[in-house]
């Protein structure tokens, strides 16, 4: 079959690889009908996530049709149309029982490696380095889905297109969890760093959860325009002092909660500070360029919540501990526990509360993935979200 493979930093190639097959009784093989390039795939492309190998099949946002089932999967049938959550979860461990699916204790065969890096291991993830298990991803014609009796959700409603449900696999629940962690109550003002796909879903979700106002922060006018279309007020950090502007917009209180939807490759509006973080990251003295998180912390209201769904990989310098501690902030974070959001968010889509396809700016064939990574990385052609069709 054909698959988009990581072949080095800034290099993705379409390669012919063996077809996947059932390895375990709880596996399914899915023929991919739609898949997407995620912002977090760019961290792999840019070489900032450790433990990638030449030839790794990429992709953790995908959906398709079940073509083969292991003997122990009884809740799905061949021919079912399914969406597949990006974390792999067994459904039986303590973490899964507590609905912390991205922390599944069993799904990462390379747990020993993840344990060395993070202290305790995390779940397996499709197409996302050997740190998260070395699972082939879904930017391919077919994919093996382990624990298929737990993860995939059958989409029964034929009136919903792939593009409307595809993002349930990652970015919609991720943005939603970012907003949910803010514990939004009446009158709350939420600030969102990053108006990429996850940031846009965080904006939309904050409103779904009752936010009074949402403020989106980015530097690309076309992305800020998309945030504005979801009802957000916007700040371009290359044009204004974000901390001062937020203070000014919130009666001097600061946002009640701040969402970091940027992660490890943040950009700073001041070239010198940006260069400082870039050089340290380039020399591997830190793995993160943490400006968005630093600013989210220092900008948050006293006693507020900082919610982190942007992806980080290792260590960051100049974490503002003084601001964080003295101002009684709460820091919440996590790779999305997608499984717990599938049904409620599908319901919201069916109820027409939201149509997630609004983030899509580009549609390509799988074979065009290498070009897709390039234009997505460089924000060319007003690129926000690319959907690939095998």
């Amino acid at each position: 079959m054909r698959a988009a493979c990581w072949t080095g930093i800034n290099s993705v190639e379409i390669l012919d690889v063996p077809d996947p097959r059932i390895l375990d009784p709880r596996d399914a093989i899915v023929r991919v009908t739609s898949t997407a390039i995620c912002g977090s795939d760019l961290h792999l492309y840019d070489g900032y996530i450790p433990a990638m190998r030449n030839g790794d099949v990429l992709g953790h946002e995908f959906m398709g049709e079940v073509v083969e089932l292991g003997s122990a999967v009884t809740n799905l049938k061949v021919g079912d149309r399914v969406i597949v959550p990006f974390p792999i979860a067994c459904g039986a461990c303590n973490a899964c029982e507590r609905e912390l699916y991205s922390l599944c204790e069993n799904s990462n065969p390379n747990a020993a490696l993840a344990e060395k890096m993070f202290g305790y291991p995390t779940a397996g993830i499709f197409g996302y380095s050997h740190l998260t298990g070395g699972f082939a991803g879904g930017q391919a014609e077919y994919v093996r889905v382990p624990f298929a009796d737990i993860g995939p959700l059958k989409i029964e409603d034929d009136t919903l297109t792939d593009e409307q449900v595809l993002f349930l696999t990652d970015i919609f629940p991720t943005g939603f969890m970012g907003a949910e962690m803010c514990e939004i109550s009446e009158g709350d003002i939420i600030a969102v760093w990053g108006a990429g796909p996850v940031g846009l879903f965080a904006v939309a979700s904050a409103y779904l959860l009752g936010a009074h106002r949402v403020i989106a922060i980015d530097r690309f006018p076309y992305r800020l325009e998309m945030a504005r279309a979801r009802g957000a007020e916007v700040l371009n950090y290359e044009e204004v002092d974000v901390s001062e502007a937020l203070k000014d917009m919130t009666g001097g209180r600061g946002p009640d909660a701040c969402i970091d939807a940027v992660g490890m490759e943040a950009h700073h509006g001041t070239p010198l500070i940006n260069a400082y973080d870039r050089v340290k990251q380039g020399l591997r003295l830190q793995t993160e360029r943490g400006h968005a998180l630093r600013q989210a912390i220092t900008s948050c209201r006293n006693g507020g919540i900082v919610s982190v769904v942007g992806v980080y990989g290792g260590f960051m310098d100049k974490f503002p501990t003084g601001s964080f501690m003295n101002r009684s902030l709460t820091l919440k974070a996590g790779q999305c526990h997608v499984h717990r959001y599938l049904r409620p968010l599908l319901q919201r889509i069916q109820d027409r509360e939201i149509d997630p396809s609004f983030v899509i700016t580009h549609r390509m064939t799988l074979d065009e993935a290498p070009r897709g990574y390039e234009i997505f990385k460089h924000k060319q052609d007003d690129c926000t979200k690319i959907v690939l069709t095998p």
């Binding site: 097959r21 190998r53 790794d56 461990c93 020993a112 397996g124 298990g133 070395g134």
Partner: protein, 221 residues
């Protein structure tokens, strides 16, 4: 006793050899002296007992710590033994003395080999995991899995608080307790050992780096 077990078979053999030889020298100095062709004088008896005490002390120190310095101590003791054999040999017992000297030289070779290899890394490992099942069930699963092949180490099962399952503590001497226990937990909780495209043989230990790429394996492999 040291907390760690040591994978040091040569060292352990030399330690017991020291204790055994030293005990014989202490208990039957005259018999040992005759065996190695040394004249049975009161002085020879006192020297043989002293050497016996030295052997026992060295053996105990080696077995307790496996520290390389005590093997160098044995090398020094071997040299002393050879010197004493030469000094004390009785006329007409040349063959016995030569045999004894050959035995000491053999021991010296083993002592030097062990000494230059340095302190062994403790390979004893202890792993702890919580398995999300009741203790009875976990113990039964453990016994079933290891029926016929034997447990790879010592294992205990304790109920975890608030119904979180069973805390399993596994101690092995082969350095694989963690991987062993992780796979056991996967097997009990999920029904199989978890495999990815990069680890189709259910590997995934740090020892197995580097992995194959995360793409489906050829059917033949």
């Amino acid at each position: 006793m040291s907390h760690h077990e040591h994978h040091d078979p040569l060292g352990r053999a030399l330690g017991w050899f020291s204790v055994g030889l030293g005990a014989a020298q202490l208990a039957m100095p005259d018999a040992v002296n005759r065996m190695v062709g040394v004249r049975a004088t009161p002085t020879a008896r006192r020297v043989m007992r002293a050497m016996g005490a030295r052997e026992v002390a060295a053996g105990v120190a080696i077995l307790a710590t496996h520290r390389t310095v005590f093997f160098w101590g044995r090398v020094a003791g071997d040299v002393l033994d050879l010197a004493l054999l030469t000094l004390g040999r009785s006329p007409g017992a040349g063959a016995r003395t030569a045999g004894a000297a050959a035995a000491v030289v053999g021991a010296t070779v083993a002592d030097v080999m062990r000494s230059v290899s340095g302190d062994p890394a403790p390979s004893h490992t202890r792993a702890v995991a919580t398995v999300n099942r009741a203790p009875d069930e976990v113990r039964r699963a453990w016994d079933d899995l290891h029926a016929g092949v034997g447990t790879p180490g010592s294992v205990t099962f304790t109920e975890a608080p608030a119904g979180q399952g069973t805390e399993v503590v596994l101690e092995t001497s082969d350095g694989h307790a963690r991987d062993e226990l992780r796979r056991f937990k996967q097997l009990v909780e999920t029904g199989h050992v978890v495999r990815s495209d990069a680890t189709p043989d259910a590997g995934g230990t740090l020892q197995q780096l580097p992995y194959r790429a995360a793409q489906p394996a050829e059917v033949s492999s």
